[in-house]
Amino acid sequence: MRNITAQASAAATRLAASDVAVEVRGISKLYSEVEALRAIDLDFPRGKLTTLLGPSGCGKTTLLKIIAGLIPATAGEIRVNGKVVTGPGPERAFVFQDFALMPWATVMRNVAFGLELKGMGRDERQAIAAKYIAEVGLTGFESKYPHELSGGMRQRVGLARAFAVNADVLLLDEPFSAVDEQNRRKFQEDLLSLVEKEKKTFIFVTHSIEEAVYCSDRIVILSRRPGRIAQIIEPEIDRAASPDAIRRDQSYLDTVEEIWQGLKRYVD
């Protein structure tokens, strides 16, 4: 484990330009009265999974949606691959907490929907969708409707849809919070192998410290509202080990404990 903020704080949040997929510069957000985020400066390393962790209501979803271009920031700017964000763009894809699947469309159509909106032809987009349906382990369910799937399977559809548009940056807002515990563990393992395979930049929001430590290359801990960066931790877990070994590993447990100690003061 490496505790970055404990070393040199301001400079440490920035990385060498070429390795950075997403730059957050001086982002603040005011919702009429509520100050959700205050002057956030943050770099997200390319090809890594960075987790945003923090107490409820600290602005994690807000930051993720600002990066997605779904809501405007009050101040500051976001750059993705060096280009300033003014709205949603094809280089970013969002995975929603409540899955956001179209209940009237089959798994195939849902997964291919991003490509359909781009105007891609039917055969081409279905071929691409089929590949990602297989990758998330849903082969055989192509013509099922969302209500015929379990929560975990629905989120796999959401994930496949995000992969299918071939975005560089995947934004995941508590993707597993509506998935039961057993499926959640399996899903985390699958996500890690997909991170490995797809070489994309993942920005991940979760409430679960264990999930953050297990999945992340980097964990950014936000303080209570207005959200500011409290701490940045790199768990440095040996991913070659088996999932069960990792969950019993001493440095894994220590990292979880350290984060808990940091977050505890925000819990009422």
């Binding site: 949603p88 209940p103 209500h147 849809r161």
Partner: protein, 250 residues
């Protein structure tokens, strides 16, 4: 329904009421109510007459034109109200007044505005049907999960695609429910409109038969009308069931 501990299907109760009608008719105590069998015979004869067919076509025509307008305008206003708070505040009071107002009272005014012809009937159908379609569409649009709209935006949907591939489809169950209720009100509208204008289609026949105390034909007309209205709403309901099935997770 249960009777003396036995399960009685719904159709059975209908048969009981038909039997009561038949008996009351045969006893001859109420000359307004002829036996049901006579009414049914009259109905079969009636639908074969040119008068009835012409009246039915006039009526159906006014009804369909009025309904089509009500659906188009009703869905459009409902979407507007569901998506824009300003429009909702501006139009909300009026829609809520009209949805429960006794609209029949307006028909004479409509006659002054639109004359004694089919236009008045079409406008009556429209006014009877449109408000409930507006309200149900509005509710449907407001019930579209915000994340579904964000999903569309984040995957680059144009405004048009957002409305026609996501928002309207997501609100379809409520919109169909509104249309079903609108159809029932529209049937009322077409009859009341024609009765008050009274020289047109079904209304003309109603007027004619009731003035001459031709009760067999009067009831035959009524039964045909009820059956048509129930058939229409049943059709839409079966469509709704299918849509509900796909929208099961909402």
């Amino acid at each position: 329904m249960k009777l003396f501990g036995y399960r009685v299907p719904m159709m059975a109760s209908l048969i009981v009421w038909c039997a009561i009608w038949e008996l009351v008719g045969r006893s001859g105590v109420l000359f307004l109510i002829p036996p049901l069998s006579d009414v049914l015979v009259a109905a079969v004869a009636l639908v074969q007459t040119g008068t009835w067919q012409a009246a039915a076509i006039t009526t159906l025509n006014s009804f369909l034109v009025g309904m089509a307008l009500a659906i188009l305008v009703g869905v459009a206003i409902g979407v507007l109200m569901g998506r824009s708070v300003a429009a909702d505040n501006l139009l909300g009071i009026w829609v809520n007044i009209f949805v429960s107002a006794p609209l029949s009272a307006l028909v004479p005014v409509l006659m002054i505005l639109f004359g004694m012809g089919e236009t008045t009937v079409v406008v009556t159908v429209f006014l009877f049907a449109v408000w409930i379609i507006v309200l149900d569409t509005r509710a449907g649009i407001q019930g579209v999960p915000p994340s579904l709209i964000e999903m569309g935006r984040s995957y680059g949907a144009s405004r048009f695609a957002l409305y026609f591939r996501i928002i309207l489809l997501s609100a379809l169950p409520e919109i169909l429910a509104g249309i079903r209720l609108g159809v029932i009100r529209g049937v009322k509208g077409v009859v009341i409109g024609q009765l008050l204008v009274s020289i047109l289609g079904y209304g003309e026949l109603f007027e004619l038969y009731s003035r001459n105390f031709d009760m067999e034909n009067f009831w035959a007309l009524t039964i045909i009308l009820f059956a048509a209205a129930m058939l229409l709403s049943g059709l839409i309901e079966s469509l709704e069931k299918r849509v509900d099935y796909y929208a099961g997770v909402r």
